[in-house]
Symmetry: C2
Subunit: 526 residues, 2 copies
Amino acid sequence: MTVSRRSVLGGTLAAGAVGMAPGASAASADRVERWGVHEIVLQGPSDGNPFEDVRLAADFTSVGRRVTVPGFYDGGGTYRIRFSPPDLGHWTWRTTSNVAVLRDRGGRVEAVPPRPGNRGPVRTTRDGYHFAYADGTPYRPVGTTSYSWALQSDARCVETLATLAAAPFNKVRMCVFPNVASVATDPFARTGHGPRDWDPARIDPAYFRRFEDRIRRLGAIGVEADVILFHPYDKVRGYSAMPRADDERYLRYVAARFGAFRNVWWSMANEYDIVESKTVADWDHLFEVLVAADSHDRLRSIHNLNTYYDHRKPWITHASIQHGAAVLDDGRVHPHRNFAQKAVIFDEVIYEGNSSKRWANLTGEQLVERFWWGTVGGAYVGHGEVVTGDDDPDGSWLGQGGRLRGTSPPRLAFLRRILEEGPAPGIDPIQQFWDYHLGGRDFTWYLRYFGQDRPAEWPVVLPTRDGDPHPNYRVDVIDTWNMTVMPVEGVFRMQRKNEYDVHDPARPTIPLPGRPYMAVRLVASP
Amino acid sequence: MTVSRRSVLGGTLAAGAVGMAPGASAASADRVERWGVHEIVLQGPSDGNPFEDVRLAADFTSVGRRVTVPGFYDGGGTYRIRFSPPDLGHWTWRTTSNVAVLRDRGGRVEAVPPRPGNRGPVRTTRDGYHFAYADGTPYRPVGTTSYSWALQSDARCVETLATLAAAPFNKVRMCVFPNVASVATDPFARTGHGPRDWDPARIDPAYFRRFEDRIRRLGAIGVEADVILFHPYDKVRGYSAMPRADDERYLRYVAARFGAFRNVWWSMANEYDIVESKTVADWDHLFEVLVAADSHDRLRSIHNLNTYYDHRKPWITHASIQHGAAVLDDGRVHPHRNFAQKAVIFDEVIYEGNSSKRWANLTGEQLVERFWWGTVGGAYVGHGEVVTGDDDPDGSWLGQGGRLRGTSPPRLAFLRRILEEGPAPGIDPIQQFWDYHLGGRDFTWYLRYFGQDRPAEWPVVLPTRDGDPHPNYRVDVIDTWNMTVMPVEGVFRMQRKNEYDVHDPARPTIPLPGRPYMAVRLVASP
C-alpha cells in the first residue's frame, strides 16, 4: 500500500511522496493510486487541546463527485488529512477549519490506475451475501482473530506478520484497546499512575501511529484489518465505559486516521452484549457517529456473545456472528442469512486449541469441519487458536499473535483454494428447505459436504424445478482433511429423476472412501 | 364466549343481552364478562355507501383508562361497535360519528369477573418468548392449519369443529379470503359475473358474519383463530392485489368486526413474500394501519415462504415461520429465537400427508419429530394434514377442514400434555452454544430429545456454571411416539463433574430402549 504524502508547512506548500514500498519516488508527488492514500500534512496550533479545539476537514472534488474528509491531529502541531480516491482522475481539495492557518489550503491530486495487488477496498456484492474487491475480484473471507497482536513489541509483530504472510488468512480481527498483556497500553494520555488515570480527551498519537503501521503492513501482505473498536474485557482501564462524548471523539479520530486505508473494516465491538455500560441504543448511536465520520464508508459490523444484534439495521454491511454450535450443520447456518439478509461471517465458532476451557478446545478436524459446514451453508467462518506448548505456555495466537501451532491452517488454505476455484460471487445454499446439504450456484457449481459421516457412496442427485435446464457435470471427490481432489472419470448426463430431482440413470451413485470430512464438487461441463 | 348486546335503535335506547351460551339472561344487560364482547347496535343511514361514507367509533372510559373502539357497518342500516373490556369495573361510552343520528350516543357497562373457561386473550409473556392468557395461565401453542374451513358449508364447519374439539389443537390458521373451493366466495359485492367483477368498497356483511360465527365457535371450544388477512393464492379474484385504499378499508373493517373476540390473532399474510403486488414497505404500512385500527391490540405476525420478514419490527408480537427443515434439529431453531428476540412459531414445517408433493408427504413420525425438536429448541410448531383416501380424494383438512386422518394428532395431544405439565412460561433452550440438545428452565426442569437416534443409554449430565446450585432430579424416560412415560426409580443427586457439568457419580447413565423418538425429562426434586 503506497502512501503519497503532500506536506503543507505553515502556509508554505511543500510536496513529497513517501511510499511503504521501497523505490517510490518524489516524481509521483501529486499522484496517488486509485484506492491508495493521499495524505495532506498541515502545521497548526499545538497549544490548548487540539483534539478538542481544532476542527479540520478537506473537500475533495472531482467530476460530479465531492467527498468531505475529516482530518486528525497527530501531535507536535501536525495535522493530517487522508483521502483514498474512489475513482480515477483529477481531484481538487480545499480545507475548512475553525483555525485560520488551517483554513482554505488547497491543492490537486490525480488518482492514477492502481498497481498490481491493489484491487481496492472490499465491499459486499450486489446480492448482499458475498464480498468482492472494488475492482470486481471476489473476496472470500478466511479470517483469523488475534486480538492484541498489533499492540505487541515490534519484533513480535514482525513474527506475526511473517506467520500471516504464510497462512491462509486474508482477514484478522484485532482490537484497538488491549485485551491481554501488551507493550502498547495507553491510547490516551496518562494523568497519573492509577488504572483510571488517563484523559480520554487527550489521545496519544503514538499509540494510534503504531496501530496504523500494523494496518499498513497487513495491507502490504493482502490481509484485511477487521478493527474492533470496543470490547468488554478492559474493566480495569474502562475504555469501553467512557462517557458518550469521549466515545464519539475516539470514533471520529480512528475514522479520520485509519479510514483511508483500504484494508480497514470496522467491528464496532466484540461481545457487545456484555459491555455493561452500553445499551443497544448506545451502539446504534455510535454507528450513526461512525457512518458520519467515515468518509470512506468501510465495512461495518458488530460481534455478539449471546444476543444477536439486529443486522438488518442500515449501517450494518454484514453480520459478524459468534456462536459455538451454529456451524455444526449447514441447516443451522441458513436462518442467519435469511434473518440478516446480508453476508454472514461466523467470526467465532470456538477456537482450535488444547485449552481446558471449552471455548478453546477444538481439534483441527473440528474447526475445519465448521468451516466447511459454514461454506456449504452460504456463509463464512473465522479461525482462532489457543494451543499451548513448552515454547508458549500462554498459547497466545489468539491474544498476542506470534506463531501458529494448530493443524487447521493448511486445511483452511486448501478450503480457500476450493473457494477461489469456485463460482463468483460465492456459494449460496441450494434449496435449503429440503435438506440437500448442498451449496453452490444453480446449474453451474455444487458442493456437497458430509462432515463426520463416512458414507461409502453418494447418490448423485441434484434438485431441479419444473422446466429448469440441467447441464452435464464433472464430479470431484474431495478429502477436506487430507487435502486431495480426486476427479471421477467421465461426465454425469443429468435427466429428470422425479418432479424434484435430476440424476444420471447410467451412474446413479459414486463411491466414497468411507472416511469422514469428505465433500463432492460438481461443476457444469459441456 | 358470551356476547352481551345493547341495542340502540335510532335515538331510542333499547337494551338486551344475547349470549351464545344457552341460559344467558336479560338481567345481564349492562354487564359483560371481562374479556367478553360488549356490542352496541345503532341504526343509521343505509343509503350511499356506508362503508365509505360513515365514520363511527365509541370512546370507552374507565378509571384512568380510555379506549377508542371503531364501529362497523353490518348492512341494512345497522352499525355495531364491539368492545372487549380489558379490566373489571364500570365503563362509560360515548360515540363519535360524522352522521348526526350516530353521534353522542352513550351508555354504561360493567365488566364483571369472567366465568370459568374465559381466561382472556393470549399475550406474549414478559420474557417475550412464550404465551399466556391474560389471567396468567400459560398458553402452549399446538396449532393446525385449515385455510378455508370457515368458508365451507355449515355442515362441514360443524364437522370441523367437532374434529377440533376432540383434537389437541388450540389454534387454527385460517384465511379470510378463500384459497380452495369454498361455499363462501364473495367478501365484496359482485358487480357482474367475471372473476374481477367485485367492488372492494362494498363489503358483503354476510360473508364476514359467517366468518365471525366460526371465530366465536372456535372460542367456545378453546381454540385461537389465527386469522390470515391476505394470501398469494387468489390470482383469479385478486383479493391480495387491491389498491392500498381498499386494503386499508378491509383491514379496518376486520379489525373493528373481529378484533373484540378474545381468541383472534392477526396473521397479516400467508407467504407474504410471493404476493407479487406488495413490497415489504407495503406490508409495513398495512401493519401500521392494523395497529391503529385494532383497539384490542391482538397478537400480530406475518408468515413467509422463502424470505423471513424482520420480526424485530415493533408491530410484530411473535415470529410465524415457514421452513421445511428448520425443526429437524434444535440447533436450527435457536437462531430464530435469537434473531427475532420474540416467541417463534414454526407454523408450517411440511405437512403430514401421503401427497406426491414434497410439501405434504411427512409421515406422522416425521411431523411429530419436528414438533419435539422445535419444543426442545424453545419454539412452537404447527400441524397440517393432506391425507387422501377413498372417502376424501382431496385430502382436505389443510384446505377445507372436515376429519383428520393422520397419525400425528394423538402424539401431539401427548406432547401438549407434557408441555402443560412443564414449566411456566415455557421451555427455553439450555446453553445452546454447547449442543446439549436440552430445553427447559435452569435448575428446575429439563427435556432431552433424541429424534431418530436410538441410544441404548444416556449419560445423565446437566450443564452448570461456576457456583450454580443444582438440586436433585427425578427422571422420566418418555417414548414420544408410543406415548409412554416411564419413571426412573429414585433421585439423581447431582455433584460437580467438571468445570461445566454436574452428574450423579453413583448413577452416571440411564438405560434407554434403543428405539427412536425417545426423550428424557428431569424434574427438580427434594
